[in-house]
C-alpha cells in the first residue's frame, strides 16, 4: 500500500482525501487515461460520482480543484485500491494533469456527488456518452447488466479522436452505436439523431447521459418523447466540489414543483433530465428563472 497517504476525513463520511500516486498514464485519442493509487476511495464509489484533483503542486497558482468523473475503480490489488479518470487537456489545470509522469503524486478528494440511480427492475437501458462523457458509463453498464438489464450504448463526438471507449463499449454493452459530427467513424451526425431508434428498438425505460449540456438537453427531449426517463450527469463549473461555495448551481425543479438553484456538486451531478430547467441556459450563461424560489424581483436585488 505504498504511494498514497490518507488525510483527515471522518469515518462514515463516505469521502476520503488521499495523496494518490500516478501508476499508469496512456493517451487515448484526444484524451489521457490515468490510474492513481487511492486506497479507501474505490470501496465508497459508485458510477456517476466524481473525484476532485488539486493541481500544480506546492508552488501552484491554481488554487481550485479540477473535477473528473470516475472512469473505474479497483477496490484492491497490488496497490491497494485504484481510481481511473479520463482527462482532456483544456486549461492550465488539465494540462498539468495530463503532463504528469508515473510516480508523481496528486491530492485527490472523492468520491463526490450523487451516483446514477439504478432501476429496481431489469429494464432495458441506453447509455449515451458525448466525448469524454462516456468515461463513467462502462462501469455503469456493468452495474446495470449485473442487475439483468439489457444495455446499449451510444457514443458520439465531433470526430473519431474525440470518441472515448468504443472498443470497451463493445465489451460492456449488448449493442453499440457510434456517431461523429464529421462522419470519421460511425454514423455522421449527433447522438440525438440515432437515439430515438435505439430507444424504440430496445424498449428502453431509462436513458443515461453524460456529455456537454446541449447534448444532455436533447437526450432529455428524445427520451421524454419516447416515454423513457433521462438521468443525466451535468458538468457545471465548480470551485469546491464539496458543496460549500455555491458556484456550481443550476435551476432544477424539486418534488414540490418549485424551481431552485441547486448545487450540482452535491445534489448532482446526476439529475433527472426532465427536472432541469434547460430553458434557463443560453449562450454560455444560465439565468435564474423568474419563477425560481428567491429569484430577484424587479426593483429588488
Amino acid at each position: 500500500m505504498s504511494g498514497a497517504t490518507t488525510h483527515g476525513t471522518r469515518p462514515g463520511s463516505g469521502v476520503v482525501r488521499v495523496t494518490g500516486e500516478l501508476i499508469a498514464t496512456r493517451r487515448v485519442g484526444a484524451y489521457h487515461h490515468l490510474t492513481f493509487v487511492a486506497p479507501g476511495l474505490a470501496e465508497l464509489a459508485r458510477p456517476g460520482q466524481f473525484v476532485a484533483l488539486a493541481v500544480g503542486g506546492p508552488t501552484s497558482a491554481n488554487l481550485l480543484r479540477r473535477c473528473f468523473s470516475i472512469h473505474k475503480v479497483s477496490p484492491s490489488g497490488t496497490y491497494g485500491g485504484t481510481v481511473d479518470v479520463v482527462v482532456a487537456a483544456h486549461g492550465p489545470g488539465t494540462t498539468w494533469i495530463t503532463e504528469l509522469r508515473a510516480h508523481d503524486e496528486v491530492d485527490i478528494v472523492g468520491p463526490l456527488g450523487r451516483a446514477f440511480p439504478l432501476p429496481k427492475e431489469p429494464v432495458p437501458c441506453v447509455l449515451v456518452g458525448g466525448g469524454y462523457g462516456s468515461a463513467p458509463l462502462f462501469w455503469l453498464a456493468e452495474a446495470l447488466r449485473d442487475r439483468g438489464c439489457h444495455v446499449e450504448m451510444v457514443l458520439g463526438a465531433a470526430t473519431e479522436s474525440k470518441l472515448f471507449g468504443v472498443v470497451e463499449a463493445r465489451r460492456h454493452a449488448d449493442g453499440v452505436t457510434v456517431t461523429t459530427d464529421d462522419g470519421s467513424m460511425g454514423t455522421r451526425g449527433w447522438v440525438s439523431d440515432v437515439l430515438p431508434e435505439v430507444i424504440r428498438r430496445t424498449g428502453a425505460a431509462v436513458v443515461y447521459g453524460c456529455g456537454p449540456m446541449g447534448m444532455l438537453e436533447s437526450i432529455t427531449d428524445v427520451a421524454t418523447a419516447e416515454g423513457a426517463v433521462a438521468q443525466v450527469a451535468v458538468e457545471e463549473s465548480m470551485a469546491c466540489g464539496v458543496g460549500v461555495c455555491m458556484t456550481c448551481v443550476m435551476p432544477v425543479v424539486g418534488k414540490d414543483g418549485a424551481t431552485r438553484m441547486v448545487r450540482s456538486c452535491v445534489e448532482g451531478p446526476v439529475f433527472r433530465g426532465d427536472r432541469v430547467r434547460w430553458d434557463a441556459f443560453s449562450d454560455g450563461w444560465c439565468r435564474v428563472p423568474d419563477d425560481a424560489v428567491g429569484a430577484p424581483r424587479a426593483g429588488g436585488h
Binding site: R10, R17, L63, S237, C240, V244, C245, A292, A295
Partner: protein
C-alpha cells in the same frame, strides 16, 4: 498545498500552547474559524472534520427571505485566487435558524452567524429573528456583512460609507443581548478603512472582521465579455493576503495610537497555512478565518490551526494571545 517542512512538522506534533481566545467576552478554545460563504452551514465540512473543533463556525451571510442568488457562471479562477459572484444565495433567516443553526447546535459548534440585508431595517429583522430562535444559545456572536449592496443608495456597498455602516451596526446591536458580540465585517475597497472601523465601533460593534473580498473582474478572452454573470465579483484567496495583513495592521495601529477604541480583530483573507495565519495574528488579529483555501483543502480551517499552534510553540511562546499584534512591538523596538 504550500507546506514548508516546518509547517509539516508543526502539523503532526501535539502542542502545549494555549490557543484559546477571549473574543469580546466569549471564550473560544481556538482562534480558527471558517469564513462566511466558504463553508456553507456546517454539514458539508462536517464530513471532513468535527465542526466543534473550530473556535467558531461562521455561517453563510443570511438575509430575511430566501434568495436564489445570481445566474452562472458565478466564478473565475485567478492567479492564486478566485473571483466569485454568488449574490448571497440562501434560505432566508427562518429556514436558517430552523435547519442550519439547529444542526450546528446539535453538532456542538460555536456559531458566529453572518447576517446581511439590502436595507438597514432588513439587517435588524434578521438579527431579531435570530435572537428569537431556539438555537440562539449556541451563537457566540453575530458578524454583520456590511459589504453588501445598499438598495437605498444605488446599490453602493454599505461598508463603503461610514454613516451607512454605523446605522446598520447600531440597529443590529439593538436587537441583540449585550453578551452577544457584534462584529462588523469590513471591505478593503475604501480609501480609509480606519474611518469605517471608527464609525462601526462607535455605533456599537464589539469587534472587527477584515477583510471581505476586493472588487474585481475577469474577462473571458474567448468570448470577450465578462466571465461571471454578475459582471464584477469578489476577489479572494492568497493573492489578496497582503491587503488583509495591511488592513489588520492599520486598524491595530490606530488602536495603539488611541485613534480607535480597542476591540478584537478577526483576520481573514488569503490564509492557507499556519504561516499565513501567523502573519495576520502578528499584525493584530486575535482570531483567523479560512475562506477560499477551504476549496483547495476542505479541512484547511482545522489544519491551519494545528500548523499555527506548532509555529507559535516553535517560537517559544506558550500562549497565542502573546503573539497577537507582536509585529507592532518588534517594529517599535527596532
Amino acid at each position: 498545498m504550500t507546506l514548508t517542512s516546518a509547517d509539516t512538522v508543526a502539523a503532526t506534533t501535539a502542542t502545549s500552547v494555549d490557543m484559546s481566545v477571549d473574543l469580546a467576552g466569549r471564550h473560544l478554545p481556538s482562534p480558527m474559524m471558517t469564513a462566511s460563504g466558504c463553508a456553507a452551514n456546517g454539514r458539508e465540512l462536517g464530513r471532513f472534520f468535527d465542526v466543534a473543533e473550530l473556535g467558531a463556525f461562521v455561517t453563510k451571510s443570511v438575509m430575511a427571505d430566501p434568495r436564489s442568488g445570481r445566474g452562472t457562471p458565478r466564478m473565475a479562477e485567478t492567479p492564486s485566487g478566485m473571483l466569485n459572484s454568488i449574490g448571497l444565495q440562501g434560505p432566508g433567516i427562518s429556514a436558517f435558524v430552523e435547519h442550519d443553526l439547529a444542526w450546528l447546535k446539535q453538532a456542538g459548534a460555536r456559531t458566529l452567524v453572518s447576517v446581511a440585508g439590502g436595507t438597514s431595517g432588513e439587517f435588524a429583522d434578521v438579527a431579531a429573528t435570530l435572537r428569537a430562535s431556539d438555537a440562539f444559545d449556541s451563537v457566540v456572536g453575530v458578524e454583520v456583512n456590511i459589504s453588501c449592496p445598499n438598495v437605498a443608495n444605488r446599490g453602493l456597498v454599505f461598508a463603503c460609507d461610514p454613516l451607512a455602516s454605523a446605522k446598520v451596526i447600531a440597529l443590529v446591536r439593538e436587537q441583540l443581548p449585550r453578551d452577544v458580540p457584534v462584529f462588523a465585517k469590513l471591505t478593503p475597497d475604501v480609501t480609509d478603512i480606519v474611518s469605517v472601523a471608527q464609525a462601526c465601533v462607535k455605533a456599537g460593534a464589539n469587534g472587527l472582521t477584515m477583510i471581505n473580498t476586493l472588487l474585481g473582474m475577469v474577462i473571458d478572452t474567448d468570448l470577450l465579455r465578462p466571465q461571471v454573470a454578475g459582471v464584477t465579483g469578489g476577489l479572494s484567496g492568497p493573492a489578496v493576503r497582503p491587503v488583509a495583513v495591511r488592513a489588520v495592521w492599520q486598524t491595530r495601529a490606530a488602536m495603539l495610537e488611541g485613534r480607535l477604541p480597542y476591540v478584537p480583530i478577526i483576520g481573514v483573507g488569503g490564509v492557507r497555512t499556519g504561516r499565513d495565519a501567523l502573519e495576520l495574528v502578528a499584525a493584530g488579529a486575535s482570531a483567523v478565518q479560512v475562506g477560499t483555501a477551504t476549496f483547495n483543502d476542505p479541512s484547511a480551517p482545522v489544519r491551519v490551526g494545528r500548523e499555527l499552534a506548532g509555529l507559535v510553540q516553535d517560537k517559544g511562546f506558550t500562549r497565542l494571545a502573546d503573539v497577537v499584534g507582536i509585529a507592532h512591538e518588534r517594529l517599535a523596538r527596532a
